[in-house]
Symmetry: C2
Subunit: 392 residues, 2 copies
Amino acid sequence: MNFYDLLLPRKIVFGAGRRREIGILAKPLGNRAILVIGSRTLEKLGIVQQLIGDLEESGISILTTKTISHEPETSDVDQLIDRLRSSLLPHDFVIALGGGAALDLGKAAAALLPQSIQDAPITDYLEGVGQGLKLESAPLPIIAVPTTAGTGAEATKNAVISSYSPPFKKSLRDDRMMPSVALIDPELSLHCPAKVTAESGMDAVTQLFESYVSRRHQPLIDALIEQGLPLAFDALPKLAKCPEDLEARCKMAYAALLSGIALANAGLGMAHGIAPALGVHCRVSHGAACALMLPSTLRTNAEVCSERYAKLARLLLRLDSNVSDDIATEKMIGRVEELCDLLGVPRRLSDLGIDPSLIPDLAKDSKGTSMSGNPKELSTEDVAEILRKMSF
Amino acid sequence: MNFYDLLLPRKIVFGAGRRREIGILAKPLGNRAILVIGSRTLEKLGIVQQLIGDLEESGISILTTKTISHEPETSDVDQLIDRLRSSLLPHDFVIALGGGAALDLGKAAAALLPQSIQDAPITDYLEGVGQGLKLESAPLPIIAVPTTAGTGAEATKNAVISSYSPPFKKSLRDDRMMPSVALIDPELSLHCPAKVTAESGMDAVTQLFESYVSRRHQPLIDALIEQGLPLAFDALPKLAKCPEDLEARCKMAYAALLSGIALANAGLGMAHGIAPALGVHCRVSHGAACALMLPSTLRTNAEVCSERYAKLARLLLRLDSNVSDDIATEKMIGRVEELCDLLGVPRRLSDLGIDPSLIPDLAKDSKGTSMSGNPKELSTEDVAEILRKMSF
């Protein structure tokens, strides 16, 4: 417990209906909000228009951008920056409202807009690809308003950006990209479709599990995970039955927030190492990829961290302390598999129509920041072998 | 769990020896550091000079101020502001190094220096006294470097300032006073005298207990307290025996950090409601006042929150789940009293030479922000009666 850094959103505002406070929260951050929206449903329901009204009432002017409804690609970021750069004003800030896609696009725009190099594409700033450029100027302030309970991007310092040709999915990362305000209103997730609720929920669950045993795990984050995982395991089955259960939406929104704080400070592991490759090679959504990889990740790491897994298992399953670490861990993995089955998330590569001939490419492209946090060291061949066992 | 705000330091850097990173941490915050120091010991040991060297090596110039060795008074703040205001430069920031006294003085200076009203004394900004002025301009950025494990002021948004004539001890409070960086190097507390270690440690313990049952208690803070209290109960007896136990210093520094995050977000209660009155009427140090009031605070609140106390008790004392809430709570209070005895902190007003004739004034001046968080509503007469029972 003796060495760690913690990076946190300066302000977290949580509660059903609290989106109406956006004007008061935005006022100290600037004069004009660049609005990045990721939910057509919320537009149709008039919720976006209501938020714009609340902002304008606080004297904040609005610059709207195109609604994004897919995980952001390099071209999305480059086009947005091209469009906005010439009209940027001194006290602009970003409000990103939506799932992980909108939050990541908003965070990337906030990061790149103030940079003095005018023509460098986003790729040049992404980890492991391009020129390795760093942000010279501070990003614009960000208010992140999640509408799904999953990525926790409202409390992270990175934005994940995809490219399909060449295929990569990489992070733009800088401490100063941590949102100034995370405004979490669980009512905004009430209209989330069942598939998105399940897949984004499993992203959060995977993040909580991976951060707990990551090479950079640390005590404050442990406490948050020990609280958050049982909430997610309670809420997800309830939401599968009754999507309007606001209490369960609250629990899941909170668990997702904790998972974001966790990954930003403790890192991730194998599931998040392989998920980007599944995204760019096979167009698997991030949440589905995480859910797919979670059980095998737990099994793969069990031999090196069964003590920590067993601690989580005893909390999650309320096991007696006389159950051995190995049995507790095995019961917990069984419980994760039951949850995956209940939610109808994929369990095998074949469930997603992924051809085993892609496995070598998937394994090769699974090295990255997330994989570097995995407690068990895995070679490309190890990853390929794990994927082969999950083929059918 | 459905409504809460969380205000957190943007960055926490924790670890033995990590004070040497101060140059890198300070660089993004400005060009010149206004240094507020609260430890003559660290000056004598050359540690302050070493930090100044590290800052200068990063290209940061230094403006030193008078060392403070007592809890800050209104005159300390006013004099510091008078001295510094005319020489303030655009990219100044504050580094406060010391116990709660130096951190609070540094935070108050950071808050008041940029204000355009030139001649308003600090009193006009304090809660419940003066003109009720608000901060119009944002405070200077703050790096807080605690050298005691107690107040948690490295993670709070207020500064406590005393006056003896007229007698009051009140907070200057603003969300933007939350430090930009909390740099916690437990080695800095190795030279802390036994009395300061015990009293500041009991301040942290009291904060953890009070935030857990406060009217504004909330789930993320619960998780931190459930982790922090057992660490403090483990560390304080070890430090009483062996002040050089770095592992115990780390645990206690961490528990104090958690207690600051806790009080900033969940508020406090009766012990912190009465402690300021004991400070200004009887010159009792803040930590001693907290320790004095903790057992009776726990007893007073037990009837309205025995379920939450019992949860803490089962964690702290590893009690079986079949022990009743009342018995668990009583065992926990007994354990707190044992800790107080072991640390030699005062238990009765007479231990501090306080005359019972002061009780009416003490009770009258115990209404404030902290008291408003206490789970049990207490009238002035209730407080007087509690103090009377603690006289001898």
